[in-house]
């Protein structure tokens, strides 16, 4: 866009007019054929010896000359060759892709586009703390294989180290529903994850999608968890728990199980804690009724 100013300072106005005219002239020249250098001069990229000119006018005059026109022909033919080559490669790719069955062609396409986009724009630094598994999901979708092979083991390790729950029944993982929603047990029925929502957390759209994302990962971890469980390794509390896993609910929570969990939560939220021996004791910071010595009995 060129802006025209009105006024009475003739010299400035004339400079401005000259600049506008040059801009108009410059429109005719394609971007890849001329380069504006930092000292304000222009270089012709078509000719191999890259001549330098002071103004657009001179460049335009050069572009009308015999030598430049010859060079231009060669320039265009090289461009055309490159374009032909690209077409050829695309056709080859198409032919090879035809043999393989692609279940989701659009998905692969999208993945390729995102990879391309992400390569050109670096992901900005995000200082926010991400919990455990979330970090793994932030990685670009285009990568099929993990960059560090160790990732598998570290996640396994995370599973090895578990919060110590005395009431956990050392049974087969299938029945291993923790009585607390926050512990990291997994269900092996993957399909139910998408339907089941946490009774604790309200259904939120992003949680459902994270659930869906996590199902792929959780199956691997289920196996590892199973192995670990059967080994009977003692578990130790380590800071961050398995966040995504918490949202998975076993679909076959039986009625008594549910009541037990509810009762347990009711007691903990009322201020009862478990001591070393597994007995319920009062938390010192919490107030209780003067006649409340024992925790309320579980419902029958």
């Amino acid at each position: 866009m060129s802006f025209k100013r009105e006024g009475d300072d003739r010299s400035q106005l004339n400079c401005l007019k000259k600049r506008r005219v040059t801009e108009l002239l410059a429109e005719d020249i394609p971007d890849d054929e001329a380069l504006l250098m930092k000292n304000g001069r222009l270089a012709c990229l078509v000719c191999s010896h890259k001549p330098v000119f002071d103004t657009v006018d001179m460049l335009t005059v050069h572009r009308g000359g015999r030598k430049h026109l010859n060079n231009q022909q060669k320039f265009y033919s090289k461009k055309q060759e490159l374009a032909d080559l690209i077409l050829k490669r695309k056709q080859e790719q198409f032919l090879s892709a035809q043999d393989q069955e692609d279940p989701a062609p659009l998905l692969t396409q999208t993945r390729q586009i995102t990879q391309h986009a992400l390569l050109t724009a670096a992901t900005p630094y995000n200082p926010c703390v991400k919990q455990g598994r979330k970090k793994e999901e932030e990685q670009p979708k285009g990568k099929e294989t993990p960059f560090f092979q160790k990732r598998q083991e570290s996640s396994e390790e995370r599973f090895v180290v578990q919060p110590y729950k005395s009431k956990r029944e050392p049974v087969a993982p299938k029945q291993n529903n923790s009585q607390t929603p926050t512990s990291s047990s997994n269900s092996d029925s993957q399909s139910n994850f998408q339907n089941k929502t946490s009774t604790r957390n309200l259904p939120a759209l992003q949680k459902v999608t994270t659930l869906q994302k996590e199902t792929a990962k959780s199956t691997d971890h289920t196996k590892s968890w199973k192995d670990v469980q059967q080994q009977g390794t003692p578990k130790v509390v380590l800071g961050k728990k398995q966040k995504p896993v918490k949202e998975e609910r076993k679909p076959e929570l039986s009625e008594e199980r549910r009541k037990e969990i509810a009762h347990h939560l009711k007691l903990t939220s009322s201020g009862w804690k478990r001591d070393r021996g597994g007995q319920w004791v009062k938390d010192e910071d919490v107030e209780f009724d003067s006649d409340e010595e024992e925790p309320p009995p579980p419902p029958l």
């Binding site: 926010c128 309200l202 961050k240 918490k246 939220s269 009322s270 919490v286 009724d289």
Partner: protein, 1215 residues
């Protein structure tokens, strides 16, 4: 999310009021400033009602307002000092009904700054100069004159700056035609600043300084400065020149002093106090506002104290020297921000809080027995005069203007089971507080209701002569008879009117000059003035089905769709047109417009047919009964009405009117269509649609404020009228009616007579232009918050006042004072004293007018009230002890108590403000019994700090005690604390919950998002906001988004980004990350700001609500000045694009009136984000037509389309 901000009701609290002849006529008008709105009002001298003529939003803050008149002029101009850094002079143009900016001079930066002038304005009484001053240092003087073309000219500013000087008040001294002089109350703090010991700041005195503008030398000098003994708060200029002694009256604490130049000694008089006042006796008394009344022969001042007592102040002079000041108690009115004494003998009181009043000054208080206090009376130092307050004697209340200022709390709900939700507003301050129910609709005053024999079908009113002012007959049609009633002193049946009573009537009206016309199924009856009757009978077996009548033409439709046309000729004879027209379908309704002034006939007849069309038929003699145009309708028409409506001025018709013909079509499915009828071609265009109700819409023409209006009746009645250059379609707050007609009588010049079932009702609509009608219930103290009990629909409210006594303490103090009175009396007067004491105890001045006694700092009075909102009666009232103040309330159910409903009230004991401290607090737990009618105290739980917010949460309650957030459960003897979080930085203002998520707003640091973990019994802050926000009210929009209003008048919306998780933990090993510990700026996850908008007034409540049945949800907010506004979301990208461009064009084409830049006003504190200002967009309708056209062209639309789009987005969500 993109939002569109609309104002439903403008602010009602007045900050400045001035009076003058702004139209240039003899009528006095009042201009008020309501923060960011300038309004022009005119009290009608005959009826005494105040009408608002013009209301303009200036998108800036009005800091000072003055009127001035050039020497020898007849018209007053308005000078505005705003926050734009410019001084603006406005002129009111009555022809166009708008303010015209005459001058705009820039002198400084925008914003309410200390040094930039704008805060004080003073005008030379002779209209030669004005001074605009800042709080500190700068004062500028402008000289005003008129040029050869009699236009106002303004000079360059002359400076009168003085560094290190604070200014308290500025006034123009009246010294006749000598050099203009301005008096200023100033204080020089230079010494106090430079002295580190603090001694000189104790001894610094305030000065009275006079600035003189030397017109010859064209500069301002600081002529004279005099230190004052007492600290003055404002000045009153005394009329001078030939009309008075000149000089100023200085109002200070407990005294009023007169000062002048030269030999004049200072005259000082103490301010009288109330006898037997319960107030703290140490408390000083000041005057808060004044009004001057000047006539050729005398002048006086009315000054009001902070208790509301008005004194009439006169000066006694002896040869140009003032010898005494005389004060006389005049009357007591509610405390005002401004008072105006109009030349027509009215006193306009713009109250500080609550309704505004217009009084008529009936007596000047000259010849009554009220004692007059004089400065010449000898008094001890420290002693003062005493007077007894009494009811109104010199003033008569003429009109009351409703004001909602300040709105403390508001909730929108449909508790009355009408389809439309009502707004329940707790507003007011102190004893003038009230609880109001706002309903959308015009207020209807029912003048008379009478029963009729049988159920009537229709009603008309008939005048006997076209020049009559009032109607003569009411004609009621029944299924087989017609009843004629005469209007006079009483309403009586008449039999000699000439109308046929044995048949039902289709129409009844005045035709020609003085003839009556009755159309009934068998024919037409034309009754001449001399009682001669002409009858026209229907041919054969046909009957008249429908008819349309105006002053000179009659069209009837016979069975079979045949139209017959009659026209009155100049002799008064009704002639039938030779041809009859056959319509293609059955005729359902017909309408004729009124014959235009100066014409013989109306050109157009509109016919609604059974084939869902409306046809326009010409009645021009050239092409009589030829069809002109047609419009297809979405449903069968029920009734039609053609009106001339447009942007005239309303009350008086002084300029050319820009009117258009509108065809209103009421359909059987309850929809009203309004189409423009081209006056030349008869084409129909630009249709606007509105859904009115479930019944077929019937239309009736009435007259409102001199203009034509349509009454549309469906399941609800609506009135379509023009008011302040805008079209309004407002429902009536009244029951369903069936038929109506305009009505004019002596008691009721613009009323409506209507039938409903078997009753005949006469109604009047008075407050046109008001969006809400109010029903108000008075309260005792300032209401703070209230909750609604869902089961019984009752309201439980807490009212708290600082600096006041409870009823018990008041009674106790009175008793004490009475005993003192008796003791102090001598032996002989014991009996007399005892009588007086008894009288004193029994007397009870209504606190709403006389104010409540001020107890002193740290004294609180509080009550908890259960109230039925529809009936307005108090069901239960619990008075708390003296100094126990209730601040928060919540209604909840506890998990361990099943279905019982509890009300928890948080109170603080002995709280002092600034800094906030208290001796302790309590949580009162009450159970709501007797079906929500009574509160029973269960127990009181002591807490350490002020409980600022309470909310129900998962079968327990969350309480914000100071900065601690705690979960409490119901125990047997008290509430048991179960969990606590100490990390909220300052003070918890409000708590909202959703699932496990808790949204806590801090008084200074915006939102904190907290998660409750049941397993560990912990409350953990997982996210907060990056900006500081001083939140006053908040609401949650969805699981991740909250909206808040803050104390600087901004509305913001904050959202948790998608990646935020609330599954965070407290670190049990103790190795917490620094940011989680609250040292480095709070929580580790931050919320995004998605919307920001500066409203301009402090926002006191915000909530999501649906305002119209079947409409979508919008965000409704209320402000402290009594304004109600909404933010509505855009549903399509095109809409948003359109309005964004419209706003952009209007910002440049039609900048705000007082020179403030709109974008920077809306971005006052935070840059405006994703919100488009609908108030600015709606100013499109008041731009000049040429500008409208250019803006509309830029948007590729016509101006009518733009107006329609503006109207559509408003009616989709609200009104």
């Amino acid at each position: 999310m993109f939002l569109y901000a609309l104002t439903l009701q403008r602010a009602t609290g007045v900050t400045h009021a001035i009076h003058g002849n702004f139209s240039g006529t003899r009528q006095q008008e009042i201009v008020t400033s309501r923060g960011k709105i300038l309004e022009l009002m005119r009290p009608d001298p005959n009826t005494g009602k105040i009408h608002t003529l013009l209301s303009v939003e200036i998108f800036g803050v009005i800091r000072s307002l003055m009127s001035f008149r050039l020497t020898g002029g007849t018209k007053d101009y308005i000078v505005c000092g705003t926050d734009s850094g410019r001084i603006v002079i406005l002129e009111y143009l009555p022809a166009k009904n708008k303010f015209d900016k005459v001058h705009q001079e820039t002198f400084g930066k925008s914003g309410c700054r200390r040094i930039v002038p704008g805060q004080y304005l003073a005008v030379d009484p002779k209209g030669r100069a004005l001074m605009i001053g800042a709080v500190e240092k700068q004062k500028l003087v402008y000289i005003l004159n008129r040029d050869a073309a009699a236009r106002l000219t303004i000079s360059s500013p002359l400076e009168a700056h003085k560094s290190n000087t604070l200014c308290y008040h500025l006034v123009g001294v009246d010294i006749g035609f000598e050099n203009p002089m301005f008096a200023c109350l100033e204080i020089d703090y230079e010494d106090a600043d430079n002295d580190p010991t603090g001694e000189s700041s104790q001894s610094t005195q305030q000065c009275l300084t006079f600035y003189e503008l030397d017109l010859g030398l064209n500069h301002v000098v600081r002529k004279y400065s005099e230190p004052l003994e007492e600290h003055g708060n404002f000045l009153i200029a005394v009329p001078g020149g030939s009309e008075g002694p000149s000089g100023v009256l200085i109002c200070s604490e407990n005294y009023i002093t007169y000062k002048n130049f030269g030999d004049q000694p200072d005259i000082r008089s103490p301010i009288p106090r109330r006898r037997n006042d319960l107030d703290d006796p140490e408390r000083g008394m000041i005057f808060v506002c004044s009004a001057t009344h000047k006539t050729k022969s005398m002048f006086f001042f009315l000054a009001q104290t902070e208790q509301g007592d008005i004194f009439k102040i006169t000066l006694e002079t002896d040869e140009d020297m003032v010898t005494e000041i005389k004060l006389k108690y005049f009357d007591t009115v509610p405390v005002a921000t401004s008072m105006c004494v109009l030349k027509t003998g009215f006193l306009f009181v713009a109250s500080e809080f609550g309704n505004h009043y217009l009084y008529q000054i009936a007596h000047l208080g000259d010849d009554d027995e009220e004692p007059e206090f004089s400065s010449a009376m000898p008094l001890e130092e420290g002693d003062t005069f005493l007077f007894t307050p009494r009811g109104l004697k010199n003033l008569v209340l003429v009109d009351e203007m409703d004001s909602l200022s300040p709105i403390m709390s508001c909730q929108i709900a449909d508790l009355a089971n009408e389809d439309t939700p009502q707004l329940y507003v707790a507003n007011g301050r102190g004893p003038r507080s009230s609880f109001r129910v706002l309903r959308h609709g015009l207020e209807v005053s029912e003048m008379a209701v009478s029963e009729l024999p049988g159920n009537p079908n229709a009603v008309w009113t008939v005048k006997k002569n076209v020049d009559d002012e009032f109607d003569a007959y009411i004609v009621v049609s029944f299924v087989n008879a017609t009843l004629v009633l005469s209007i006079g002193e009483t309403v009586e049946e008449v039999t000699d009117s000439g109308f046929l009573g044995t048949t039902p009537t289709l129409s009844c009206s005045l035709i020609g000059e003085d003839a009556l016309l009755q159309i009934y199924p068998e024919g037409i009856r034309h009754i001449r003035a001399d009682k001669r009757v002409n009858e026209w009978r229907t041919p054969g077996k046909k009957t008249i089905v429908k008819c349309a009548v105006n002053q000179r033409q009659v069209v009837i439709a016979l069975t079979g769709g045949e139209l017959v046309y009659f026209e009155m000729d100049p002799t008064g004879q009704l002639n039938e047109y030779t041809e009859r027209k056959e319509m293609s379908a059955e005729v359902i309704c017909m309408a004729l417009a009124n014959v235009p002034v100066g014409e013989q006939r109306c050109r157009f007849l509109a016919v609604g047919l059974a084939d869902d069309t409306v046809r326009i038929i010409s009645l021009d003699p050239a092409d009589c009964l030829q069809p002109l145009s047609m419009q297809a309708l979405p449903a069968t028409p029920e009734s039609l009405c053609i009106l001339q409506m447009g942007s005239g001025e309303g009350i008086d018709d002084t300029g050319p009117r820009n009117t258009m013909l509108f065809l209103n079509i009421g359909l059987q499915n309850g929809v009203l269509l309004r189409t423009v009828l081209d006056q030349v071609t008869g084409d129909l265009s630009d249709t606007r649609t509105r859904y009115l109700g479930s019944r077929p819409v019937k239309l009736f023409q009435v007259k409102m404020q001199g203009n034509e209006a349509v009454l549309a009746m469906s399941s609800r009645s609506w009135l379509s009228y023009t008011y302040q250059n805008r079209f309004h379609l407002t429902p009536l707050s009244y029951e369903t009616l069936e038929y109506a007609s305009g009505f004019a009588s002596e008691q009721c010049p613009e009323g409506i007579v209507a039938i409903s079932a078997n009753t005949l009702r006469i109604l009047a609509l008075e407050k046109l232009g008001a969006v809400f009608n109010q029903i108000s219930t008075p309260l005792m103290y300032t209401p703070r918050k209230f909750v609604i009990d869902a089961q019984s629909n009752n309201i439980i409210m807490i009212e708290t006042d600082h600096n006041s006594y409870t009823e018990a303490t008041k009674a106790q103090r009175k008793q004490q004072m009475a005993e003192e009175m008796v003791e102090a009396a001598g032996e002989e007067e014991k009996e007399l004293a005892a009588e007086m004491a008894a009288a004193f105890i029994n007397e009870n001045l209504p606190e709403a007018t006389f104010g409540s006694p001020k107890a002193g700092p740290g004294m609180w009075a509080s009550v908890i009230r259960v109230l039925n909102p529809i009936q307005g009666n108090t069901l239960d009232l619990i008075q708390l002890e003296q100094n126990e103040a209730a601040f928060s309330i919540a209604i909840c159910k506890f998990a361990n108590r099943g279905d019982d409903t509890f009300v928890v009230v948080g109170t603080a004991k002995d709280m002092t403000m600034n800094p906030r401290s208290c001796s302790g607090g309590f949580l009162h737990t009450y159970q709501l019994i007797n079906n929500g009618e009574k509160l029973e105290l269960i127990h009181k739980t002591p807490v350490e700090d002020v409980p600022g917010a309470i909310s129900a949460f998962q079968g327990r309650i969350l309480v914000g005690i100071g900065r601690l957030l705690r979960i409490y459960d119901l125990g047997k003897k008290k509430l048991l604390r179960k969990c606590e979080n100490k990390h909220v930085p300052n003070f918890i203002m409000s708590i909202h919950t959703m699932g496990h998520r808790i949204f806590v707003s801090d008084v200074q640091e915006s939102f904190h998002f907290i998660r409750y973990k049941r397993q560990e019994n912990q409350l953990i802050i997982f996210s907060d906001d990056t900006n500081y926000r001083w939140i006053t009210c908040s609401t949650q929009l969805d699981y991740d988004t909250v909206a808040a209003g803050d104390k600087f008048g901004n509305l913001s919306m904050v959202r948790l980004p998608a990646g935020v998780t609330d599954e965070v933990d407290e670190d049990p090993t103790g190795n917490k990350a620094l940011w989680d510990r609250g040292l480095l700026n709070g929580a580790s996850q931050k919320a995004d700001v998605i919307c920001n908008y500066h409203v301009g007034e402090v926002v006191t409540s915000v909530q999501k609500a649906t305002l119209i049945p079947g409409g979508s949800e919008s965000l409704v907010y209320t402000t402290i000045s009594g304004g109600v506004g909404i933010l509505v979301p855009f549903t399509s990208h095109e809409d948003h694009d359109f309005f964004q461009h419209l706003e952009m064009h209007i910002r440049s084409e039609h900048p705000p009136l007082c020179g403030r830049d709109h974008l920077s006003f809306r971005s006052y504190y935070y840059p405006v984000k994703n919100v488009i200002d609908g108030d600015l967009c709606e100013q499109f309708n008041s731009m000049e037509p040429s500008k409208q056209k250019s803006v509309a062209e830029e948007l590729d639309r016509t101006p009518a389309e733009v107006s329609k789009k503006l109207e559509d987005i408003r009616t989709r969500y609200a009104f």
